[in-house]
């Protein structure tokens, strides 16, 4: 599978698609980090502890995902990876919401 979504033979430019990587990291990464941090609030902990833990985790996860979006070898790989994290964590939140 061609993860770079490039025409075969076209050389890869350094730091390609900065805007695409930014959107993946900042927006989708933001959604993913909130979603992952929200997963923590479902742990059987007191509300104050769960909320503090989730708050402290949300920003580092977000920054790590933006970092990954630029670290990945192609912008498409960054999108795929972040989307792969986002979807299951959103689904887990939804499942817990309806189960609670």
């Amino acid at each position: 599978m061609n993860m770079a979504f490039r025409q075969p033979g076209r050389p890869k430019r350094p730091g390609e698609a900065v805007w695409s990587r930014s959107v993946a990291g900042v927006l989708l990464g933001g959604l993913a980090s909130v979603s992952l941090a929200t997963n923590v609030t479902w742990l059987p902990l007191p509300l104050d502890v769960a909320l503090l833990l989730a708050l402290l985790l949300a920003v580092p996860i977000w920054v790590a995902l933006i970092f990954y979006s630029f670290w990945a070898q192609s912008w498409a790989r960054a999108w795929m990876a972040i989307a792969t994290i986002t979807l299951p964590s959103l689904l887990f939140n939804l499942a817990m919401f309806y189960a609670s």
């Binding site: 900042v26 929200t38 503090l52 708050l55 949300a58 933006i66 970092f67």
Partner: protein, 523 residues
Amino acid sequence: MRAERGRLAGLLAGHSWLGLICSWVLALVFLTGAMTMFQQEIDLWEKAPASLGSVEQPRISLDRILSATPIPSTVRDKRVEVLLPGAKSAFYHVYVYDEAGDYEREHAFHPVTGAEWPDPQQSYLGEFLEEFHKRLFLSEGRYIVGIATAVFLLNIITGLVIHWPKLTWRGLTHPRLDRPRLRWLDLHVSLGIFALPFLIVITFTGTLFSFSVLLQQSLVAGRLHMNPRPAIALLAPHPPVAELAHIGMRIEGTDTLIADAARRLQMTPTRVSLLHVDDRAAMMTVIGEPEGSFAREGRVSYRLSDRSIAQSRPIANGNALARGESVLLSLHYGDFGGFALRLLYFVLAVAGCILLATGNLHWIEKRLAQPRLPRGLHLVAGLSVGTCGGGMVALAGSMMAARLLPPLWPQRADAVVSTFVVLLLASEMVGLIWRRHPRRSLIGLLAAAGFGYALLPPIDWLVFGARLPTAIAAGDWAVPIIELLSAILALTCFACARWLRRDPLQAVTLRRTKAKRHEVVEG
């Protein structure tokens, strides 16, 4: 190896572009944040000479302040919140509300004489700088600041990954100032590394605060089934509930209760909250913080009719969220230490502004080395000049306005804020209009700002006369502290302007050297 190079190129592109876009917001946030470290001193300085000599003097009692607070008879269920003079406030600030209506007034009283300050909202500079630091004085600006701060945190990490393998002690302490492209990079890396712990703490806590309301609501929305009240109650605990008795009762002896709460919980009282004032069901809550530790909070609520304790929340009993947030707040504002720590925070925040400026200059230098100049180069240079120089000019101008405008002028606060905004926008215009001569614009702006800061101390001594040395002798250092900050900022501006005048740096002249042109032609 090739993959590694590709990754580093991605990080470098993200570091430089995201850093460039966010630098204009962050430079202003860092500058105003540096001043926020001394918000109480700015408040006292702005209220001088009336405030001179109010520190370290015996305070007037709260009973007298409350009896002097005018409350109209139309207010049925009175609630009074008092900010006590101390680390959080220079004067007694009394906020009167009607629990049953929409009445809301703020009064300020001198902590020693008890004289009412005519319009407390007109001495607004310190509060304005904090508002600008938090949300750029825009209604939803906290999210812009939050995103810019998160990107800055990311840039610290990407900067470390990119430059860590090349770091040497000699490289950090001896920047190559004679090498056009490398001088900015060396200065940028040195400042970033030496200020690293401060920058990480500031950016992490800053991002968290910018998004805290949004995060708190969204994080527990599912668990609490969209009812945010339990989460809000964790941060703002309800005082004990009491119904109005509709029997009049004069409030007395509040100072004794404040002293009792301070002794009982070993804390320094900072706020007092009074419910059902002038009614037999009146309640008084004393809120305070322990000295010399991260900001933890204790509170004791008293029934004023029989002076019994209705609720006591010792300092160690706060919930994890409230204690966690207050620790983060203390780390961000540096109020867990003394004057030296706040001055260190101030210097490091100004160094943060210089870090951003050197980053932008390096960005421009790199583009100047390319065979074809990018289209937006002049725009970037103009915006960088307008923001870095303009922030300094706007701050100097607003401080000058705060010092020179009459304290009782009804439009004073608006004039101080307008001075800041107009000077900032005018500087951006200067940067953009003369974008082909950024060096000249930047020198002009920095020199103007430097003169503004340098003039503040002589004006203070001229206006206050002999009252200033008397106040200093009595232990009131608020005005000299602001003068010290003005002197540091004046020296920074003059030093940068002098360097720019003596050394025609490429990045601010936007002209390539002859040698470089030859290199480009030969290449």
